[in-house]
Symmetry: D3
Subunit: 130 residues, 6 copies
């Protein structure tokens, strides 16, 4: 059996529990998502990834909603099923309405289309963009 | 010689000129970008793509800046050099500051990382996201 | 019904059976994986793909484990669910430990992140790398 | 200096020359493309890749032009600059007109767009397609 | 609950019904595929996408079968499960035989392989392709 | 002008210099690569990325060479020109021979091919891999 299994809080080592506790406190949720329960197989990676995500997703020059929509746009482009599901939920929690979701999808679709047209027609970069 | 060449306004057919004129008027620019000059080899595709882009990028539930940053995030994920250059410029014109650009890149980088961690650990979607 | 179906040994043509036999003998397994049973719809493609995989995956300058981890890293980057599952298993069979798996995932995640940062910041190649 | 350099016929080993000769004869060209001159650093890989390409690109149920346009469509989707250039040329040589090129690009663009819309809306497969 | 749900004809607004009616009439089918039922959450996007798809997929310099096989090749490259299923079906309906399907897959596989070899060996574009 | 410019040590702020100093010391090099000079526009991102890369690339269950070859394999799959150049160099510095490079490329090519064959034939995961 090669498929990874989740590590629940009850089975987790102290370093993993410390990260789980910080996720739960920071996000004010009763349990962590599956993503973290699987990543817990690599305690150092779990800690590094969570601390990076926490730092990157904290509102700064961009607000939380904008960041979540960008995260979703990347996940849709890459076709990551888990990430599309989890970041759709996160973006909605941060305030993404149905209309906003539709517009994110429309921009993502259009960008994926024109990225290929630019590739295929071998368009050189305009001097103004250099 | 197989490399496509740009079609400038002076050489363009009437249908192509009509699109170029609409781009120049809509964006209030003296000339169209290379992207459109190459796409002009397919006048129907030029018209369809421009009208789609115009419709999709018009501010609606999301403002112009947010849309441009999402466009940029997709282009960076796909590694489209032309599109990164042109949509970096468009996003800056729409108000993206240096700090915002840094945060867009940070989110794009993080999403591309965690997309692969979710793939690799074969994380199942949480029931709450279904 | 458009979904391909597997071709089992009992139904297989002689050329397909010859490839299945070689896979079973080379890998010392009682049956071939689903991948080969589906590819059997194209007997020439089955033979060509198997012979290429066999040649490429034979230990040479790199050992079998290193090759399997690279195969897994590519499959995770591309988000190919079947390939992630089958090459996780193959890498474990070749000696990949839990700790090694965690490090492969960490490198894959980091590379996917920095690939996009390099794209987005439009970093020119250092003269030393040319 | 880490950048690979081409291996020209005059410097090539006998096994590499044998492949170069077969490419030149099969394609009726005076010299091989850069792709083969770089791949020549791995003589076994050069031979395997050339023989696979030759087998796959030989007209069968699909003619040469259709195959080249599919090759181009994949290369454009992946954003491989070298491959877009070389397979645009190969497709034109096989009969791709300007109008056909425009239609290939239009289909590639549209497919890349709708692929992401299907991802983002998490569309389940219709029973009729199973 | 964040997962999008399909919008069936009976619940659909007038603008959505108008698009559904046109799809059913154009394709001579009793109901639209799931893709359109999900996209219906964005009526303007539904209309724009359908009209673009209809225009792009109409036979022109390329026939319907060739266009569907290119669509399939892109979808396979991107790993879009829904699109692979729906465009396999569409290509078969347009006349793709089992042998043709096998050859499309072989070309797609080979192109994905050589795209990476060209990347990795950093092959410069031949002057003849410029 | 929208193209980012490098930040050299002489112009750098104290936090950026601290990271540059740590990179130079850790890698025992006289100057940092362009990647870090561009990322310096986001001092927090520079620090986070460097510390993550340093942690991930430190030899552990996998040695430095194996990690660099995996990094290269991902970069080649994604088509990131800068990363292919810099991680080819890093892998060679860590001991990658010409023969090893050829085998990395061969595995990367093969994986990219079979990933698509598995997608296209819609191969279900074998029970043994679950």
């Amino acid at each position: 059996m090669s498929k990874p299994q989740p590590i629940e809080y009850a089975q987790a080592s102290a370093p993993v529990r410390a990260v789980f506790d910080d996720i739960k406190k920071t996000r004010n949720v009763p349990d962590v998502n599956n993503f973290w329960k699987y990543l817990a197989h690599d305690p150092a990676g779990l800690k590094r990834t969570w601390e990076s995500v926490k730092e990157v997703m904290t509102p700064g020059a961009l607000d939380a909603l904008t960041k979540e929509m960008i995260y979703l746009a990347v996940s849709v482009t890459n076709g990551c099923g888990y990430c599309i599901a989890s970041h759709s939920a996160a973006a909605r929690k941060a305030g993404m309405t149905e209309a906003m979701f539709g517009e994110v999808m429309a921009v993502v679709g259009m960008a994926n289309e024109t990225n290929r047209l630019a590739n295929g027609y071998r368009v050189p970069i305009d001097p103004a963009f250099e």
